[in-house]
Symmetry: C2
């Protein structure tokens, strides 16, 4: 693989090499070292690439024009925008337009990431493959936000008072996890279920302990994070429960981090991954590891559930491309 272009809208990064911006010392591509540009159209007009990786925002409103610009230059696209995990969940019109544009240009567009994209959807779907029937699904991802930066902490209400938390929820500055609707839709599409409603509940996690992290200190009585739960309901019964309490240092109150999946069915499945799969590296790894599957795919807009089983790319990527069969 060769990196042939890099775009960041931050003008402070423009003109610097990727190695400088990332503070790494990666070997140069044969075309020389790539510099970061802050004008997307300039880069898109200049380079030819098989794949554009887009990691600029969570919402389709933000990434839609970026994806379209790459697709129209006949680039396949992988994005970690959460709403692109299953864009049909909330943006059917944009999804249709992206599908048509991708099809017309002979390329594939797909969203991925740890969540939505893996723990609370793809991994559950894969497990249901061994089930003859299913009465209900419950999955819980308990993580520790301490490694994250101030933006993430603020959107989860970490360090706020309960009053500030509730005001933030009402005003939309605190919103918990982005992706439950997308994960629910991935699950129900895969299984062939119809839900009447997805009900989301967000509550402050009020700390009983003093929690000190690099970016914020949470005193007892203050908010350590957001308990965010989504209920997928059919005929008044909850078929799917997805829980993702996000806070700093849950261990300080004896809560173990982990990913937990319980499928009530035939057979019953009780899975746990402890500690939880680290989210940052998982998202970047998935984005890169899905490259061969996306390049091999027929053209169009697809989701993780329609792609072959994800896999780490550890050898020569050319071996994994269909033309090499």
């Amino acid at each position: 693989m060769e990196i042939v272009g890099a775009i960041d809208r931050d003008p402070a990064k423009a003109g610097h090499t990727l190695n400088e911006v990332l503070a790494v010392n990666a070997p140069r591509s044969k075309g020389g070292e790539v510099s970061v540009a802050d004008r997307p159209q300039e880069v898109l007009a200049r380079v030819r690439a098989d794949m554009a990786m887009i990691a600029t925002g969570s919402f389709i409103a933000d990434v839609y024009p970026q994806i379209l610009a790459a697709v129209e230059r006949k680039m396949n696209v992988i994005t970690i925008a959460e709403e692109m995990g299953q864009p049909r969940a909330q943006h059917a019109r944009e999804a249709d337009e992206l599908h048509r544009a991708a099809f017309r240009n002979g390329v594939t567009v797909m969203g991925t990431g740890v969540n939505p994209g893996f723990i609370l959807d793809t991994l559950i779907i894969a497990l249901t493959g061994v089930c003859a029937d299913i009465q209900g699904i419950r999955a819980t991802r308990i993580n520790d936000l301490s490694p994250y930066g101030p933006t993430v902490l603020r959107t989860q209400g970490v360090g706020a008072t309960v009053e500030e938390f509730n005001r933030g929820l009402a005003e939309g500055t605190i919103f918990g996890h982005i992706g439950f609707l997308e994960s629910m839709r991935l699950l129900t599409d895969a299984l062939g279920w119809d839900l009447d409603e997805v009900k989301q509940v967000r509550k402050p996690i009020v700390s009983k302990t003093r929690r000190v992290t690099p970016h914020v200190t949470v005193e007892p009585g203050m908010v350590a994070g957001c308990e965010h739960v989504a209920h997928g309901i059919k005929d008044g019964r909850t078929l799917i429960t997805l829980e993702h309490p996000q806070q700093v240092l849950p261990q300080s109150e004896g809560v173990e981090t982990g990913d937990y999946i319980h499928i009530q069915g035939t057979p019953e499945i009780n899975l746990q991954i402890k500690p939880e799969i680290a989210g940052g590296v998982a998202t970047t790894a998935l984005a890169v590891n899905m490259i061969p599957h996306v390049l091999n795919s027929r053209p169009g807009l697809f989701t993780m559930r329609e792609m072959p089983v994800p896999a780490a790319v550890l050898g020569d990527i050319r071996r994994l491309l269909a033309r090499g069969r």
Copy 2:
């Protein structure tokens, strides 16, 4: 889905309806109730079907002509024959021939099952999707053979003396798990790894307790099952270890049944499913649940790792077929 034919070589079943043979009371298909036939060619000549499900044996030598007969009648094929989990592992020539025959007839052939097919390969592969690098993989499936019949128990040496066990190993009547070479090949193909060697070790599990099951009683000092381990080795180092000790009532010596996966990498992953996923229902469920993926696939011989993520089929199967997109 409609069942249009049923074949069993046992002449005692011939002429009886499926409901009689299976001792169930399933609703009739619109074409009337299907009777079991013991002459395959007769059924194949008479019926037209999208899919043939083949569950007749573990080895390619046995199922190869059966698969070919169905393919030549333009039927897609799903089989639970263990060696078909990745036929290229041990039978490259037959795999090539099946691929060409399937391609020529515009149908897809795939092997699946709990193992090979899921726990020790597909599930591990899916987990590696979140990994940026991997140093080693270790997976262990500890199950209880008590629900199985006398044939399975005999091939694992259950109830034998240690001397009988070792003789059975040497003579090939006791052989442990069938499928390690197939699982290893699925893993290494997915990751792009090359192994120098797969070393298999089989040892008797000598019981310290009295283990009473419907089909056999194991006295202390006798063999409760077969500890079977496969080591995938590269440059003298074990990269992949797959362990599948199969015995009756491991609980009697405090051994908990379960499926365990440890990926030493970035991130590190520690997964457990307790108790283990029940093997019999998982195999039948996978065979049925993969039907839409196999029908949607391009023609040829494929494996689980090349198919979309498996998923339980709980709704109308037509919604899951590509033409319905």
